[in-house]
């Protein structure tokens, strides 16, 4: 059990992570990222929305309105990869985070940091792709900012998007709402995005046809919410993969999670790539998948609604919520044994989003 450090305990140890410098692992979405966020950001900017620990903040500026607000910085390299590019990623990433509170996303902002020397045609391609993704998601990009930095002070371009959506009154979907007995649904295969980006970098060591799954999931979520009022948690397993996302939720809701390995959908090519490289698909980033925690009685209705949409066709049940062990994710392996699935510790795949 020594590998399963208690996260909250570690958070209290010092005002900042022990490292005195930022290292790549602080950006990988695993435990180091969480420690940095908790120690440096959440403790400084403390407010209930940040402390909730969701990927978007639920806010009530005036009576009768609930906003969902989120932001994501995008630094993926290369800028273009099979199935997507940094522009599509920047739109979908924020649309999805906003929607994961059950909100209807309306507006995006986009802040561009351009490296001197970037070709106009590259920028134009990225913008065209953003517009196509915004159109598919039915959101408007309503504000933007552009800064240019000297050659060598960025990597082509970085895009930070923020998004605003409206949460229907009465909706209370959050990582804090998982309840023992909830069934966990995954919307499709895992690991596609991370492996597609690695492939585009030529780091797989073989030719691959794997496409990133990057997609806006708000229409899928709308269909799910129309089918059930008993969806407790929605989250997209991006950086850090499904394992990290489920650990976050187990901690937020103080529940246990039991995953069933044989039900986890992994494309053969992704599985082979992972095997060759020594990766676990549970830790590989996705950009067009979600997990839903749903009351058992509504599972069929939710699954049916999901399967009727483009990005939920392959939805499957992958596990359930247990009362114990609190804050832990366990995996029933194909061999019948049970192992702890920890949060990603540090760095694995840098700059995949």
């Amino acid at each position: 059990m020594s590998e399963t450090v208690n996260i909250e305990g570690a958070y209290c140890a010092s005002p900042l992570p022990h490292s005195e410098q930022i290292v790549m692992g602080h950006g990988a979405g695993g435990r180091m990222s969480h420690q940095l966020i908790q120690k440096a950001f959440v403790s400084a900017f403390q407010n209930p929305a940040l402390q909730a620990g969701d990927d978007a903040a639920m806010l009530q500026p005036v009576p009768g309105i609930q906003l969902s607000i989120s932001t994501d910085a995008h630094v993926v390299t290369p800028l273009f990869f099979p199935g997507g590019d940094i522009g599509k990623l920047a739109v979908c990433g924020t649309v999805n985070d906003v929607a994961m509170l059950g909100a209807k996303p309306f507006y995006l902002t986009a802040g561009f940091i351009l490296e001197e020397g970037l070709s106009m045609s590259t920028l134009q391609q990225v913008i065209t792709s953003m517009q196509a993704a915004a159109q598919e998601a039915n959101v408007q990009i309503v504000a933007g900012d552009t800064k240019v930095v000297q050659k060598g002070k960025a990597d082509g371009l970085y895009i930070t998007t923020a998004g605003v959506g409206i949460i229907p009154i009465g909706t209370n979907i959050s990582g804090t709402q998982a309840k023992p007995g909830d069934v966990i649904i995954l919307s499709g295969s895992i690991g596609d995005h991370g492996i597609a980006v690695l492939g585009a970098r030529g780091e797989l060591g073989f030719e691959s046809t794997i496409q990133s799954d990057v997609a806006p999931l708000n229409h899928l979520i709308e269909a799910m919410i129309n089918a059930s009022h008993n969806i407790h948690v929605l989250r997209d397993p991006t950086r850090g993969g499904l394992a990290t996302t489920l650990n976050e939720i187990a901690t937020q809701s103080n529940v246990g999670i039991m995953l069933d390995e044989k039900t986890l959908p992994v494309h053969t090519e992704v599985a082979s790539a992972c095997e060759m490289l020594g990766f676990d698909p549970l830790y590989i980033a996705n950009e067009g998948k979600l997990v839903a925690f749903v009351s058992r009685e509504d599972v069929d209705a939710v699954l049916k609604a999901m399967k009727s949409t483009r990005y939920g066709e392959d939805a499957v049940i992958v596990g359930e919520v247990t009362a114990e062990p609190r804050g832990r994710v366990l995996l029933k392996t194909s061999l019948g044994s049970t192992r702890i699935v920890d949060m990603l510790a540090g760095e694995m795949l840098p700059r995949i989003c």
Copy 2:
């Protein structure tokens, strides 16, 4: 007159600015930035909020509510300068943009791009400064994201903030609302921020005590709005300086602007620095100043309200709106002659915000 290219005309020439690569001038906030924004972004993401051309978007997601949404990417170098730092700038810049539509800013998001090797203490200092600025502005930082890029792929850290505020129903303050006869009030001295940042870089060639004016202006704006319902335009003259801001407004509202040079407040040190370096203070960035276009009958009330607040103490009348020449800013010089004040053409002071 050959230097006063018709901006709209130039916009129509090609799908992108003639340059085939991004150059530093695209980020300087002047004409090249405007062309890039119009040709690449506004035409792709077209929607009324973006087309209005304000620094924030006015939006009505549901009846009875008007949101003001804005974003700003911050890449200033050095990270710390007299009077402020990138963190204070990132909070104030977005608070101010949101407030310039007459909104009360509520929430900020912050996306951090950290360079591998950044010291934790630097990050902590920046975060502390952000929190202090957020507290002064009375806004909450409710969502954040952190990415880490390899050493040499950024310059310490970049921060992109986005902000959301609520516009009181009935308020219609925008760069499109300037009317002939309006009086133009400036909240204080110009050029302090740009010169302070240059000084911090050691590029002035002499020791300077000039402090950046970076400050949140939302409380000043609240006082102004409480004093008058006849404020037509509010804008902060940041990148590109007062000259560029006034050109933007003259174009948006299709009016002329007459500035009176002898009324323009410029600190002696800023004036000397500009003289030595061959700069015009009209083009130097400010981060804690605003211009207000106000109906003549309410000028005294607005000035009085401004002078009662910390950041409006030195408010002065600097000019007026004329019917002609449409889209042009003219300056009555101290010598009594009149000259055209054009938009900043390309690069002048890179990376000052």
